[in-house]
Each structure stands twice: as C-alpha cells, then as structure tokens.
C-alpha cells in the first residue's frame, strides 16, 4: 500500500516539474533541441510510464506546434487534475486502510480482554457458588471491590502494553454501533447474575431503594468501665497451686509439674573396699586414658617434629660443650668474688672472716656421660617395635582366691549396700509428698552405704534443677563426686586417704594422688509437665491492663510462649484470639468517625485564639500569672495596650535563665539593688503561690469546713465520760464541772456578727520595764510615765486607756477588723503586713512620746488563731529624756532572769475567724530528692503531722526554683564574713548582728515554705526569718558550736525558726541549752520565762530531723537529749540516710563601697520629708549639734558589735546647754523611703506650739560585706534653755 502511495507522490512531483517546464516554454518558440537538450536530465528523474506518454505526444506533434501545445496543455491539465484527484483519493484510502488496520488490532485486543474477563468471571462464579451458602455482607463487599479492582488492573495493563482501548476508539473514524457488539454485555449479565442471586440478602429493599446497613452511631455514650478507679476492687495474683484454697467448680487444674529423676548408674573410681588390684586397675585406666589422649591428639608426632627441628640446630656434643662453658663461667665469677673479698680481708683482718678459695670441680666427662645417657634413653633403639596399647575389660575376675584378706574383703563388699536419698530443700522427697510452691534451684542426692554394722553417708551430690520449660528427656548427665575421709581396713581393701606411692612402697610407682572415695553418677532430670511460667503474672497484668484485655499483647504472648493450640486448657485463648481477630478486621472495614460532626462544633481554630491578644490575656489571667491578676480585660482589642505582655515575657525569660543572680547591673546603686531584690523575692513568692494554687490538694479540711466547735464537744464528751467513770472508782476524783459550750450561749447579735468581716481581738494585760522619764523638772508627778498602747493595722488604729507607772496594767480588750480582701486565700497578697502595737507615753494633752513597738505578723495570728505571752517591745536605741530599765539598775546580778530588764507587753491576741490557708501539697511538686528519700520523708511527715496536729510542719520545702527540697540540705557550715577589719575571730553575737541587719520580708507565712540559701539571702538582701535563722545556723556550724535549728512556734512570729545552742558548763555535767532569737538578736536560756519559743515542732541539723513527740509543749521542761526515742523521733536512720548534696553554695564576700552617698541621701530625704510634713513652720537645722552628734553616733556601731552599752552621760556632755528630745534609731537598711516613713509618720510627734523649730539630725551608715548595712539615725528637737 505504502509503496503505491509513494509512487503517486513521485508522479505528482514529476508532473509539477513538467508544468514548470511548460511555463518556461510558453515564451516564443524555441528550437526543440534545446528542449531535448534538457530532456535527458528530466528523464533521469522520471521513471513512470506517464512521462513516456508525454514524450510520445510531444514527438507526434512536432508539425503543428501551436495546436499541439494547446492540446498538450489541455491534456496535461486533465492529467494533472486526474492525478490530483487520484492522490486525494489514495490519501483517503490510505488513511482508511490504516484505520482499519488499527481497528483490527484494537478489536483483537478487546476480544482478548473480553475473553480474560469472561474467564475471570467464570472463576469467581465458581467460587461464589461454592461459598454461596455462607456469604457475609462483608465478603460480598470484598468480592465486589476486588473484582472491580481487577478489571481496572487489566485495563491498565492493556493500555500499558498498547494504547488504551478508549483512545483507540476515539481516534477511529468508524463509528461503533454499540458496545454490545463487543460482547461486553456478557460481563454485565454475569455480574448481575451474581449480585442478584443470593436470596437472603438484597442490595435494595422493597421500595427499590438502597438498603443501608445499621447506623453504627449509638445513641447512648458508652465507655468501658475503668476498674482501677475503684479503690475497693483490687486484683491479686496468686500463684497456681495444686490444692486450691477455694473450690472452683468447672475449673480444671492441671496436675502440677513433677520432676522425673532417672538415675542410671553409679560408678566408683575409688572406694575404701577396693583391693590393691582395683587401685592399680584404676591407675592403669587413667594412664591409658592419658595415653589415648596423646595418641588422639597426635602428640608423639608433634614431639617428633620438634625433636627433628632441634636436632638440626644442635648436636649432643655441642650441648655438652655449652654446659661445660656455663660451668666455667660460673667458676670464674666465683673466683672474682673471692679475690675481691680477699683484698678486703687483707685490709681489715679483724672484721671479715677469711674467705675460702673456690674449687674448680668440673668433671667434663661426667657431664658428657650424663648427657649421653639422657640422649640414649630418649631415642628408640632401632629395631624396637612400635607399641600401641589397648585395654580390654573382658578379663574375668578370679572367683576363688586363696588369700584370706582378699576373701574377707569380698565378704565385706558383698554385705555393702548402696542407697540413695533424693533431697529437696532438705526434705526427703521419697518419703514426704512434697508440694513445692516455688521451684528450688537445687536438689541434692545423698549416697549411703550400708555395711553389716552401720549405715554411713558417703556424699551429698547437688544437682541443679532443670529449666522449667525442659520437658524432653535428654541425654544422661554425668556428675563427678568425691569425699575426703580416711578408712583403713584389715582385709585387702585398700582404704582411703593414702597416696598411691605410700600404698605400694615396694614398687616404684610414683603417683602422689591421694586415694579418695570418688566416682560418678549418671542421671537425668526432667519435668513431666511444663511448669507454668513464673513470669506469667506480670505478663498477665500487662495483657489485662485495667481489666481490659489487650488483644495485641495477648497475641504476642501466645506466639512468644509457644502454647500448644491443641491443648484443651489453652484452647480458650486461641478461640478468643480467633474471634477477636475476625472482629477487628470487621471493625477496620466499617470504621466510623464522628469527626465531620465535631468539626461543625468548632467555632474557630486554636491558633486564632492564641493570636487574639484579648483571649490570650484572659487565658493568662485565668492561669493566675501575677502580672495580670486582678486586671480588668477590656472588651475591645484596640483598648489593650500593645506592650501588655512585655513584662510578662521578660519575667518568663528571666525565669528560664535565672538571670537575676548573675546580673550585676545594680552593683553600684544599693537602693535600687535592694528594691530589685525585693521585687525578685516577690516574684518567687508569686511563682510558688501559683504552683500551689494550681495543684489539687492545696487546702486541708480544716481550711474549708469550720469544725472548731468540735473541740468543745470533744471536751464536753471527755468530761462526761470522766465524771461517769468517777462513779465506779474507789476513791473518786472531784468531778469536773461541764465546760461551757461557747457557741451555744450566743444571742441574736451573733447572726450579724457571723456576716461581719474578720476581726482580731487583743486582750491587753500589762507591761513591764517601760522606760522611765529621765527628767530634771521639779514636778513630782512628772516623773511617773503614763503609758498607753496604740494598735494599728494598715489604716485602722485603736488605742487603749492610759495607764500609769513603768509596770503598767490595762486589762483591756481591743478589736481590729480587717478588710475581707485581706483574708481571701486565693489572693497572693492576702495577710500581708503586720499588726503594730506601739507603746506611747502620754506626756500631756498634745505631746505623745513614742517609746517602742511590737510587730506581730498578721498571718501569724491567723495561722494559729491564738497567741499569748510576753511580747518583747523593740525600743529605739536611745530615747532622749528617758532611761531604760537596765540603765537605772546598776550591777544587775547574773541570775536566770537575764532578760528581765527588757520591756515586755503581756497580751493575748486571738481571732475567731478561721481563714482558709493554702497548703502546699508536696506530693504533687517536682523534687530535687531521689524518689525513695522523697517518699520516705513524705510518709514520715504525714505520720508525724497526723499524730501531732498542733505541731505540723513540712520537712520538704521549696527552693527558689520551686522544687521540693529536704530541709537538711539547707544546712552546711559556711564561712562567716569578716566584719571587723583587724579581727579574724567572729563571735556568735557578731554573726547574729550581721544577719539581723538583713531586712526581713513582711510577706504571708505561707511563703515560709520557700527557703532561700544563704547566698541568695545575701544577694537579694531580703528574706524570711527562717532564712535568717538558717544563715546564722550555717555560720555557727563553722564556728564549731553545737547548734541545731528549731522549727517551732514563738511569739510574735508564729511558726518560725530559732537556733538551739548547747553549751557545757565547767561546774556541771548537764549541758545548758540556749535559744537564739534572730529577730531580736537575743539569747535566751530555755528556762527563761520570757523565752519567746512556745512550741517545738522539730529539730534539724545537717544529717537529720527529729520530730518532737514529747507530750508537753512546755519548753522549760523539755528534754533535748535527741537520742531518747520516746522524746524525739528521727526522720533518717541507717536504712535511709539524709541526702548529702547541699544546696548551699560557697559565699563570696564583697566589700561594700559608696555608703557616703547613701548616708547623704537619707539625711536629705529625711529633712525634706519633715519640711513637707510641717509646711507652716520653719525648721532650723542646728549644724553644730548635728556634726557633733555624728561623731558620737559612729561609736555606736562598734559598741553594738561588742555588746557594750554606751553611757548616756558621756554622750551628751557637750550638749548640756540644750534641752532636747528625740531618738537614736538603728535599722537594717532596706529602703530609703521605708526608713524615713517609719520614723516620721508614725513615731516622731511634734508639739505644735512653736512656729520655729530647731532640729538636729545625723545619719551614719555602717557597711558590712555584701551590702549589709546598718543605719544609725538621730533626730532631735532642741529647745535652748
């Protein structure tokens, strides 16, 4: 076909060419030759017969050129047209033909496809028919899916091989009538047959709608019951045993594993009844064995080779020469030595004995001979036969022996019986029927021999138990055994305990082996039943997690442990596995999710919420981040300032890096450094608070429910019982009167009081040692002071009546009510601050002189609800115009009442209102301790706290990172600072002074759960009282004092820490104990009545904590012998020792500079504040007095450090000419503002008569290392006389 088309094309080309020729010849007539001349060229190209035709026509029409030309032209045109038509026709034909060809091919393909499909359908039909009886829906579904997939696959395959049928169809011009022509219909027919065939299941229901499966969505929410949540239901795993304690019906218990012991044979290698012959035989066998070993391992051959090699190197003669040479060399050495010694002897004949001359005794011949004989012995004589040995055991034992001894031996042997006992765990297994709960690792077999007279145990053989899974009986094991004993027989038996050479002295057998009873036992051990795995319970608990069978794990387990599926006992498991397997497969197919519905419930994405500044703010506030607590979040985003998160983010970043302690920006500015430290501490407190608030168990029952009345009921019931029992007593005690049930004697007023804000009640009793006036005026009554007390908290002030005298008494009840916000336990700043109880002298109507003050932390009151005792009044260092008690009394005798010259106020502070307090549940916080220590501490602590309700404390506290840490880790000897320049020794008081100059925070007692290390305390410059006590403790430890830290209850600080010091007197053996109170820097004897400590919770040192379990709270009678187990219960013992790694770091002391500036700024601020306070009056500052005061003031610190007191007279001698009033204060430096405020607003009261006021002031700042500053401040009003 194609060749034809080519030809046509060729024609076409040639015709065009001829036409071009024609056009060229259309010009005026040309000689033909010219035409002819060209012709040959064209003739080369043209091969077809058409052209020959043209040439013919040309040749015929030579005569009339014109007409011919036209004719030719016409003819040519027609030919041309014809050929054109032909070519187009041909083209069409050609394409048709190719199409047809293609179609043929595709049809072929389709046919093949169809055949294949048919075949497949037939196959599946067969399968379906086979399994038509029990086709499940899913299977149908499977089938359907698969078959479709298969069809698709074949399609793809075909298209890959050739073009796809569809492409072919679309490219063809021929129309198909329908697909039915291609027998495709058959498929549908067969399919329909299959799908509509099963009678029981229909695809469509009666209304010709698709029949749906049941909706898997269930109306009722279902969750598997979690058994582990019920504490009463517990699962115990018992090991299987043969005799079940509970009779279980329907449960078959397999017979337990039995050990099968098969003892094959016993063979002695030696026995005391062996005859000499036996011994020799045994020896022979042994030798033979070694010989055989030689032979087997080709040792002789190897030795031969070695010998040959040696032979090549040395002959025997050479050997001999060598030996001779060695001997000669030795002799020469001896000779040399002799010569030396001889020379020595000649020098000093007395000391050294004369040496002997060595004798040359080398017999060359002898050595040669020796060597020759050795050589000859080791060489086999030529012609000697090679021997190979073989032992036969078939020699018969001679039955009748003449020898008497031998016969008696044989008799003894006949009488001997060998017996075996099989022991297991020291129980004879043969006799008792042992039931073993655990499989022992060893069994022992005892071997007995019984002769005529006695029974003797030969040996214990220990046999290891076979592996529990070993049930097959495998090869026999050989067990060697031997004993040591000495037996001597009269008869031919050789006995035991002798060596062979001893026994056969006459022969030259040279064996040093000791003959001992020995032999070996052939045995085999196996279990008849496979032992149930010991590890099974664990696995079961794993598989049965929360009472739900973990299918996967069960499957793994069964595969791993190779359980016999035929076994009826385990068949259950396999059934179950099979079921669940099929179930799971089903489930995977029909998986149902509610997600599409869930998504419609989502309002927005999580990211949208996070991007929204308002929602984020709300979220953070809800979390209780301190920056946002109490903040009002505006409704519109635009109202929220952009930078609202900066502080928060900064803090978070700081927390992560713990930047503060490395930061040194504040080095120079002491004031700002202090405020920064305070802020930082506050932040730490906040963090602890947040942590605590977010835990579950942060409240105790007492904090939620008011059960105080119960105490009265308890007392009531106790009294009733006591009184009832009294009736039966022989000598009745006086019956007690019933206590008043306080809450029931209330009136209607109480209804209102119930709703009132919390109140603090102070019962003011009396005071002692109030400073007296140091007055020179003549008035008689002026000497007597008129003290009164003013109690203030925040903005509320209450004052008492005025009393009289230095030991005044008031007997008055005062009440202060607090704002409710102060008692909200969810407020981190609740119960902050302290109640200040100030003592004034009512001089006259207008002048009140401040005398002193007691600060009681408000949180301490609410912590204990009750506080009573003598409160130490903190007086200013000097009150000008007044003298303190001790100044008046000279030569105070050193009695027990050492502290009696201080001023005390006796009062009772109580509150009815029980304020809930957060309580850190240490269990839920992360910890630094190893978990076993933590658990131990927690257990011990809860046990202690449960039994001693009023002595609760926590042995775990937070460190600055909020991690629970054992308090013992805070205690470590630390080097105290050098506070006096030229003195290296530091005393207790100086340490205490240094520490007391660090300000104390006024935060809630709750924050005492966080302890600072001493390094942090010094760095922050602020801390709780406990931190101070810990620091002092650490310093004192390095001074080698016997000190402990007491956690206890004291006034006025409630639960706090004191230092216990033990000192030994020269006079008595009994040590004296002292309490050191860091808040006042005072040391109390424990027998002191004014000792502030009222209850001891526990005593702590580096390595242990002792909880106080003494019945009495009384400190004076308390025993401090920590070894007494019924007084003190230790936390750590030999089993659990205290964690050793301390949290304290080494202290670095930095000298403080730049105090002059501070000194100046305080003074300036003080004066400025004063003038602001009195705007109408002119204040004249007396610089002369100020300067002179400054000089005297600088001495104070030195005196204070050495514990001396300045005499007032010396002080003011130069200022006699003036009448003055005022104070000298000493403060630890906390903050300029707080100091100034404290002095002026509260204490410094001015008489307002004069217009002009002359005053003097001076400030001295004494600096100690690490920015610990002591501020001395004097402020006077001067009335010149």
């Amino acid at each position: 076909m194609s060749s034809l088309a080519e030809e046509i094309e060729m024609c076409d080309v040639s015709s065009r060419k001829s036409s071009s020729k024609q056009s060229s010849s259309s010009k005026p007539p040309r000689p033909i030759p010219a035409n002819r001349r060209i012709r040959p060229k064209s003739q080369i190209d043209v091969t077809s017969d058409d052209i020959s035709e043209i040439t013919n026509s040309e040749s015929t029409s030579i005569s009339d050129v014109r007409s011919y030309r036209d004719k030719i032209k016409d003819r040519f045109m027609t030919v041309k047209n014809q050929s054109l038509k032909k070519t187009t026709k041909l083209k069409r034909f050609k394409s048709h033909a190719s199409n047809i060809l293609n179609l043929n091919k595709s049809i072929e393909l389709m046919r093949r496809e169809n055949l294949e499909i048919n075949e497949r359908i037939k196959q599946t039909q067969v399968v379906v028919q086979e399994s038509a009886g029990n086709i499940s829906k899913t299977e149908m579904y499977h089938f359907f899916c698969e078959s479709i997939e298969d069809n698709l696959e074949t399609d793809v395959q075909l298209s890959n091989a050739n073009q796809s049928t569809e492409d072919l169809l679309s490219s063809s011009l021929v129309e198909f009538k329908s697909r039915a022509d291609l027998k495709l219909n058959e498929i549908f027919e067969t399919e329909s047959k299959i799908f509509w065939k099963p009678s029981s299941r229909y695809w469509f229901n009666s209304e010709n709608e698709l029949k749906f499966l049941e909706n898997p969505y269930s109306e009722i929410a279902f969750r598997p019951f979690d058994y582990s949540s019920i504490s009463k239901l517990e699962t115990f795993y018992h090991k299987a045993s043969l005799n079940p304690p509970i009779e279980l019906s329907g449960v078959t218990i397999s017979t337990d594993a039995t050990l099968q012991v098969d003892i094959q044979s016993l063979k002695f290698k030696h026995h005391s009844l062996f005859s000499a012959e036996h011994v020799l035989e045994e020896l022979l066998i042994r030798l033979y064995d070694t010989h055989r070993e030689f032979v087997v391992s080709n040792k002789i051959e190897r030795l031969e080779k070695k010998l040959n090699a040696l032979r090549l190197t040395k002959t025997s003669r050479e050997n001999a020469d060598k030996i001779i040479d060695e001997h000669e060399l030795e002799f020469e050495q001896h000779l040399m030595k002799y010569k030396e010694e001889l020379a020595e002897w000649k020098n000093d004949k007395t000391k050294v004995p004369k040496p002997r001359k060595p004798i040359k005794d080398i017999d060359v011949e002898l050595i040669r001979d020796d060597l020759q004989t050795v050589f000859r012995d080791s060489i086999r004589v030529s012609g000697e036969p090679k021997l190979s040995f073989n032992i036969t055991h078939d020699n018969e034992v001679t039955k009748i022996v003449e020898d008497n001894q031998e016969t008696s031996r044989r008799c003894a042997l006949e009488a001997l019986k060998i017996q075996m006992r099989f022991l297991c765990n020291d129980v004879e297994v043969c006799k008792t029927k042992p039931k073993l709960s655990t499989v022992p690792e060893y069994f022992s077999i005892e071997l007995y021999e019984t002769s005529k007279l006695f029974k003797k145990k030969i040996v214990d053989i220990t046999v290891t138990a076979p592996h529990p899974n070993k049930t097959k009986r495998d090869k026999l094991c050989e067990m060697l055994f031997s004993t040591k004993e000495e037996v001597v027989h009269k008869h031919a038996g050789v006995g035991c305990g002798k060596t062979i050479s001893e026994m056969f002295k006459d022969t030259n057998l040279d064996f040093n082996d000791c003959l001992q009873t020995s032999g070996f036992l052939n045995y085999s051990l196996s279990w008849n039943n496979r032992l149930k795995n010991d590890s099974a319970p664990n696995e079961i608990s794993e598989i049965l997690h929360n009472g739900v069978l973990d299918y996967q794990k069960l499957d793994d387990w069964t595969q791993k442990s190779n359980i016999d599926p035929e076994d009826p006992k385990t068949a259950v498991i396999f059934n179950y596995l099979k079921m669940t397997k099929s179930e799971q497969e089903n489930r995977e197919q029909t998986y149902f999710r509610c997600d599409p519905f869930l998504s419609s419930l989502e309002i927005c994405k999580r990211e949208d919420l996070e991007d929204n500044i308002r929602f984020k703010l709300l979220e953070l506030r809800d979390k209780g981040e301190p920056e946002f607590s109490g903040m009002i979040v505006p409704n519109r985003i635009k109202e929220i300032p952009e930078n609202i998160f900066t502080n928060y983010k900064k803090r978070i970043a700081e927390e992560n890096l713990e930047e503060y302690l490395q930061e040194d920006d504040y080095e120079n500015e002491i004031n700002s450094r202090r405020s920064h430290g305070r802020k930082y501490l506050q932040q730490m407190h906040m963090r602890i608070f947040q942590m605590c608030r977010n835990t579950d168990h942060n409240l105790t029952y007492e904090d939620v429910v008011n059960e105080q009345v119960l105490l009265y009921i308890q007392l009531y019931v106790k009294t009733i019982i006591h009184n009832v029992l009294n009736w039966f007593r022989f000598q009745p005690n006086p019956s007690k009167s019933l206590p008043n049930l306080k809450p029931y004697e209330t009136e209607a007023l109480n209804i209102i009081e119930n709703a009132a804000p919390p109140k603090v009640k102070i019962i003011l009793l009396s005071a002692i040692n109030i400073p007296t006036r140091f007055d020179t005026t003549d008035k008689a009554d002026a000497k007597e002071i008129h003290p009164y007390v003013e109690i203030s908290f925040v903005n509320v002030k209450v004052r008492s009546k005025t009393s009289e005298g230095k030991d005044a008494s008031w007997n008055e009840e005062l009440k202060i009510s607090l704002e409710t916000i102060n008692t909200d336990y969810l407020n981190p700043n609740a119960l902050i601050g302290s109640l200040s109880i100030k003592l004034f002298d009512d001089l006259d109507e207008s002048t009140k002189i401040y005398l002193g003050c007691v600060q009681v932390p408000i949180s301490a009151i609410f912590e204990s609800n009750k506080m009573e005792g003598s409160f130490l009044v903190k007086l200013p260092e000097v009150i000008i115009g007044y003298k303190k008690a001790q100044e008046g009394i000279k030569n105070v005798k050193k009695t027990n009442d050492l502290q009696s010259c201080d001023t005390y106020i006796n009062m009772k502070i109580s509150t009815d209102h029980n304020v809930p307090k957060l309580y850190p549940d240490m269990k839920s916080f992360s910890t630094n301790e190893p978990s076993y220590i933590r658990q131990h501490v927690l257990d011990w602590n809860t046990k202690y706290n449960e039994t001693h309700l009023d002595r609760k404390f926590s042995a775990l506290v937070f460190d600055s990172n909020g991690k629970a840490t054992c308090i013992t880790r805070f205690i470590k000897p630390l080097e105290p600072p050098q506070i006096i320049e030229d003195d290296f020794d530091i005393t207790l008081d100086q340490c205490a002074r240094y520490i007391s100059l660090i300000p104390v925070t006024n935060a809630n007692k709750f924050y005492q759960h966080m302890w600072l290390t001493t390094e942090q305390l010094l760095k922050l410059g602020i801390g709780s009282l406990i931190d101070h006590a810990v620091a002092l403790m650490c310093f004192l430890l390095s001074l080698k004092l016997e000190v402990w830290l007491i956690l206890g209850f004291g006034i006025p600080h409630g639960s706090t820490a004191y230092i216990l010091i033990r000192e030994y007197n020269v006079d008595s053996d009994e040590p004296t104990h002292f309490i050191y109170d860091i808040s006042t820097c005072k040391k109390y004897n424990i027998t002191d009545t004014y000792c502030p400590l009222q209850k001891v919770y526990c005593i702590v040192n580096e390595s242990n904590i002792w909880g106080n379990i003494q019945r009495n709270d009384d400190i004076t009678n308390m025993s401090f012998d920590l070894n007494r187990r019924f007084d003190w219960i230790p936390l750590f013992n030999q089993q659990v020792t205290a964690p050793t790694y301390t949290v304290q770091k080494k202290l670095l002391y930095v000298t403080t500079y730049d105090v002059q500036k501070l000194q100046y700024s305080i003074e300036k601020k003080l004066r400025k504040k004063l003038s602001k306070l009195l705007p109408t009056r002119r204040i004249v500052w007396n610089h002369y007095i100020s300067n002179s005061l400054k000089q005297t003031l600088s001495k104070f610190e030195k005196y204070a450090l050495h514990g001396k007191k300045l005499k007032m007279k010396d002080l003011f001698e130069q200022l006699q000419t003036h009448k003055m009033s005022g104070y000298i204060y000493n403060y630890p430096f906390s903050n300029i503002n707080t100091i100034v405020n404290e002095i002026i607003v509260d204490k410094f009261q001015l008489d307002e008569n004069d217009d002009k006021l002359e005053m003097a002031s001076a400030v001295i700042v004494q600096s100690y290392p690490n920015q610990v500053l002591s501020i001395w401040l004097i402020l006077l009003t001067i009335n010149s006389i």
Binding site: L618, R621, D622, S629, G630, M631, I632, V633, P634, N635, R636, E639, R693, D696, H697, N698, L699, T700, Y701, D703, V704, V705, N706, E707, V709, L710, I713, Q714, V717, P743, Y744, T746, A748, N750, I751, I752, N754, A755, Y825, L826, N914, V915, P916
Partner: protein, 180 residues
C-alpha cells in the same frame, strides 16, 4: 456605651425556702454574690442578710421575700455572677445553695438546691445528734472549684428565687444570649 462594657442589672427576691422546718423554728438566710475579676459592682448590695422568719406549722414553707438588687458592669462575660445562699435555722446552719444568675433578660424563677456539709469524724456525727453542724469557712468557695473535693455534702432542701435580669449593651458587643 462607648467604653466596651456592658451592664447587668438584677432585681428580684429570695421568695421562700422549702426545707424540713419544724414548727417554732426561726430561719434566716444570707446571700452573697461572687463574680469574676472584670465585674464591677456599680449598684446594690453584694451581700445581705434576711430577716428571721418563724415557722408556725410543721413543714411550712419559710417565706422570706428578701429583696435583692444589684447592678454589675463588666467587660467580659467570664466570671458571670453567681449567688451563694447560706440558710440558717436559729444559729444552726441548714444549707448552702449556689446558682448562676440567668443569662437571658427577663423574669426567671430559680430553684436553688440547698445542701450542707457532713461532719468529718465520728465525734462529729455524734455531735450532730446534739445539733452540731460543720460550717464552711467561706461559703464563697462553692462558687469556685478550690477545695470542693474535700467536702461531703448532704442535700437539705430548696430555695426559690425570682429574678429579673436586664442587660445593656451586651448585644452591641456581639454577645448573643438569646431571648426568653
């Protein structure tokens, strides 16, 4: 209002208590409102105490008709106010109740179930025979979740409240509380 805040005004009364009231007992009720940090009180009383109502016949309703009026201003609906009731018979606690204020404006009548804490110890149970009742230190804690895990309560009746709620500006801020 332009400052992005809305007002919620509540008027109503604590109508009566349905409790086991023996003849001759005297009842009174205390209420307080607890709200979130954004909520500002701009009118009315945050807490109040009712008069004492005597019961004449056994099982009578204790009618108090104690008026309540309070106006809140807030920027966020978070911390929607709740009312906490404490009911006393004489001086003895009879029950606590708590309810959120209704969201929708209009008149609502609420039935607030009352319950009281159980004593924690045997002695407490003994004491309860003689009239001892443990009380909550801060009944407000019922409005939060803190510490609720510690107490066991026992139901003790109902309180009937009728409240009229008026909102302002709530819809302008885009909050849709629906309509009653």
């Amino acid at each position: 209002m332009s400052d992005g805040s809305f007002l919620v005004s509540v008027d109503g009364q604590i109508e009566w208590l349905e409790v086991l009231a023996p003849a001759g007992s005297r009842w009174h009720c205390k209420y307080e409102f607890v709200s979130g940090p954004d909520w500002q009180l701009i009118g009315g009383l945050e807490a109040g105490l009712s008069q004492t109502a005597n019961v004449i016949q056994n099982g009578d309703k204790v009618t108090l008709n104690l008026p309540i009026q309070i106006v809140y201003k807030s920027t966020n609906p978070h911390g929607w106010p709740q009312i906490v009731l404490s009911v006393y018979s004489g001086l003895q606690l009879e029950g606590y109740g708590r309810a959120h204020l209704p969201l929708q404006p209009g008149m609502h009548s609420l039935e607030v179930p009352l319950s009281r804490p159980q004593p924690s110890s045997f002695l407490g149970y003994l004491g309860s025979l003689f009239g001892y009742r443990p009380e909550l230190l801060q009944p407000k804690m019922l409005a939060t979740t803190a510490g609720n895990n510690l107490i066991r309560m026992v139901s003790s009746g109902d309180a009937k409240l009728s409240l009229n709620i008026i909102n302002q500006n709530l819809q302008n801020l885009g909050y849709d509380v629906g309509s009653s």
